[in-house]
């Protein structure tokens, strides 16, 4: 039995797909996937304007061509499993765009807690951008700047500082 099937989250070591090369991450944001189970779902493939996401069939796991991805984030907004993220590196700092469907929505410049895959606070980050994409159908996208470049491999949620 897979460990994640008991715990409900991935340890960084359990992510089987290769992540984007660092040089690419320094150019612009790139979509990564934590959709690791074969379930019948493919809107990310349909929505990608660059055809950077492919699947053998509807039950297969999505494969992202990092060289083609331009980081537009459409897949992050549509993914029903909220399992896609954008990551990037700028001046040695990490940048993550994550789907967020809670209230209140943080605004640009707000400081927020950065949470890992099990909801633990790993530090604080600054919101660079909040995109509210027709919330009835899509998830809002929050882009946060993290102190460490390595945070992009761990941070998957934010918490509003009260």
């Amino acid at each position: 039995m897979n460990d994640w099937a008991t715990k409900g989250y991935l340890e960084p070591g359990e992510i089987k797909t290769t992540l984007p090369r660092k040089e690419l991450l320094m150019k612009h944001l790139i979509a990564i996937s934590e959709c690791i189970q074969e379930i019948p779902c493919n809107p990310c493939v349909t929505v990608c304007p660059l055809k950077a996401i492919t699947m053998k069939d509807i039950n297969a796991i999505p494969v992202i061509d990092y060289e083609k991805c331009n980081g537009c984030g459409k897949c992050v907004g549509i993914c029903p499993g909220l399992a896609l993220f954008l990551i990037g590196i700028k001046n040695g700092k990490g940048i993550i765009t994550l789907p967020y469907e809670m209230l209140p929505l943080p605004g640009k410049g707000n400081e927020v807690y950065l949470l890992n895959r099990k909801g633990e606070r790993l530090g604080k980050g600054i919101v660079m951008r909040t995109v509210i994409v027709n919330k009835q159908t899509k998830s809002s996208l929050i882009t946060v700047l993290c102190e460490n470049e390595d945070d992009i491999y761990h941070i998957r949620n934010i918490e509003i500082i009260k």
Binding site: C41, P43, I58, I78, P80, L115, G119, K135, S139
Partner: protein, 467 residues
């Protein structure tokens, strides 16, 4: 008192304020709200009491399937208040024992006979997609729904749907419902809400009641898309008000904008348990934990991950042992299970919660099919008794078709495709040419079921599908 003030996904709007009476006390209600929801929103947990031991009873399913919320309304007993729209001046009382009918029956209009080509029972994903196909043909269609709104359980699904473009994947369930419902409203289809089909008689009359009137429906074809009900599991205190079906909590939040509780313990980590827990967070409610008797999480990993990243623990190998509370849940006790599902002594854990939600499986609502004499078979992985059918969803009776959860518990996306297949099969039987549409949908259904998650379903469906 228990209103959700703002919601990240839903626009919450309440109707005009009206007043009803509960045990002599005036209670505020809103138009478009059901009686049970108004009472619950105003802080009333106990609706009635059990007939033998006089234990308090509250709501359980909130969608007109169980009998937990039955009360006397304007003198008439055994009314399911969870699906009864509140009206100005309604008199609601706790029912005494089994309830007595009033002496005079002037409130009951004369029965009415309806003749149609197809009657669809249930306007959820399966029934609505069938109606959406049938609306374009020159046939008489009657669509009946027990709840005050069309849409079945789709209207409370605030998450984005899986599947492909054909099933509008990536769109939230209630948005899919809105589209399907609008198409029906714009068509010539005769639809009736607040209409409960309660009997199928030997002369093939389908009996329905709507606002105390009996409708006798005579139809060439019957399409049962009656859905499913939530399973109750045995544990001490499982009848204490505040123990809800997870779907009931979802109805309260996402259809009526009401908080089911403050602190929740979710029992069951299948997709329903995981999705509803996440939606509870969206409504600003504290989910203490999700417990699951099996050694692993039953639902999709992505749903579990969504919840875990908000810090909600998911405890596998753990079940509910007891719920305490006199008039409302005050505490719950969970217990660990070993590999043989035996309770591990000393592994009890106490939870300070006011609400326990059960997402321990669904059971197909086959009652009418059973009355109609359709052959049923018990298949546990499909949820219980399900009708034997062919690949076009025709039951053992020539004129009776099924689709959706009533034919075996699955997903809304497969229910929609099944609804299309069965309605196209009926059209072909009537004599309409529909091209390759039916085959295309049969192939689509196969595609959706190809993954490892569906292997058990496919195997079980094999046991009940004949050529």
């Amino acid at each position: 008192m228990r209103e959700i003030q703002e919601h990240p996904i839903l626009k919450l709007a309440r109707g005009k304020e009206i007043w009803i009476k509960f045990s002599g006390t005036p209670i505020r209600a809103y138009e478009n709200e059901t009686v049970a929801m108004a009472l619950y929103r105003e802080g009333i947990d106990v609706f009635t009491e059990s007939s033998k031991l006089h234990r308090p009873r509250g709501m359980f399913c909130a969608i007109g399937k169980c009998s937990s919320c039955m009360m006397r309304v304007n003198g008439i007993p055994n009314v399911r208040t969870c699906i009864l729209p509140a009206r100005e001046g309604m008199v609601i009382e706790k029912q005494d024992m089994y309830g007595k009918l009033p002496e005079s029956i002037e409130d009951f209009p004369e029965p009415c006979e309806i003749y149609t080509d197809i009657v669809i029972v249930g306007a959820g994903p399966a029934g609505l997609s069938a109606a959406n196909i049938l609306k374009d043909f020159n046939i008489r269609v009657l669509l009946v729904e027990q709840n005050p709104k069309l849409g079945g359980q789709l209207i409370k699904q605030t998450h984005k749907f899986f599947g492909s473009e054909n099933e509008m994947a990536g769109t939230r369930g209630f948005e899919i419902a809105n589209i399907l419902i609008q198409n029906i409203k714009d068509s010539n289809i005769n639809y009736k809400t607040d209409s409960t089909a309660f009997g199928f008689y030997p002369d093939s009359t389908l009996a329905i009641f709507q606002n105390n009137q009996l409708l006798k429906v005579h139809s060439k074809y019957f399409f049962f898309a009656t859905g499913a009900s939530e399973k109750m599991i045995p544990f001490a205190g499982n009848d204490v008000p505040g123990v809800f079906g997870a779907g009931a909590a979802q109805t309260m939040m996402n259809v009526f904008g009401i908080k089911p509780g403050k602190d929740i313990l979710m029992v069951g980590a299948g997709n329903v348990g995981l999705i509803v827990s996440y939606q509870l967070l969206q409504a600003g409610i504290n989910v203490k934990a999700v417990i699951e008797a099996m050694p692993k999480i039953g639902g999709y990993f992505v749903h579990a991950a969504k919840l875990r990243r908000f810090g909600v623990p998911i405890l596998t190998g753990t079940t509910i042992k007891e719920v305490m509370g006199t008039k409302r849940v005050e505490k719950a006790i969970s217990i660990g299970l070993d590999e043989e599902f035996k309770e591990i002594e000393g592994s009890e854990k106490e939870w300070n919660v006011d609400t326990v939600c059960l997402s321990t499986g669904l059971m197909p609502s086959v009652n009418l099919l059973s009355q109609a004499g359709c052959t049923l078979k018990y298949v546990s992985s499909l949820g219980g008794y399900v009708p034997i059918r062919n690949r076009e969803l025709r039951t053992s009776r020539e004129t009776i078709y099924v689709a959706g959860d009533v034919s075996g518990i699955e997903e809304a996306s497969t229910a929609m495709v099944e609804g299309k297949i069965a309605s196209l099969a009926i059209l072909e039987k009537i004599g309409y040419a529909t091209g390759r549409e039916k085959e295309k949908n049969i192939e689509e259904l196969q595609r959706l079921r190809e993954g490892p998650f569906s292997s058990k379903i496919v195997e079980s469906l094999g046991e009940v599908t004949y050529e």
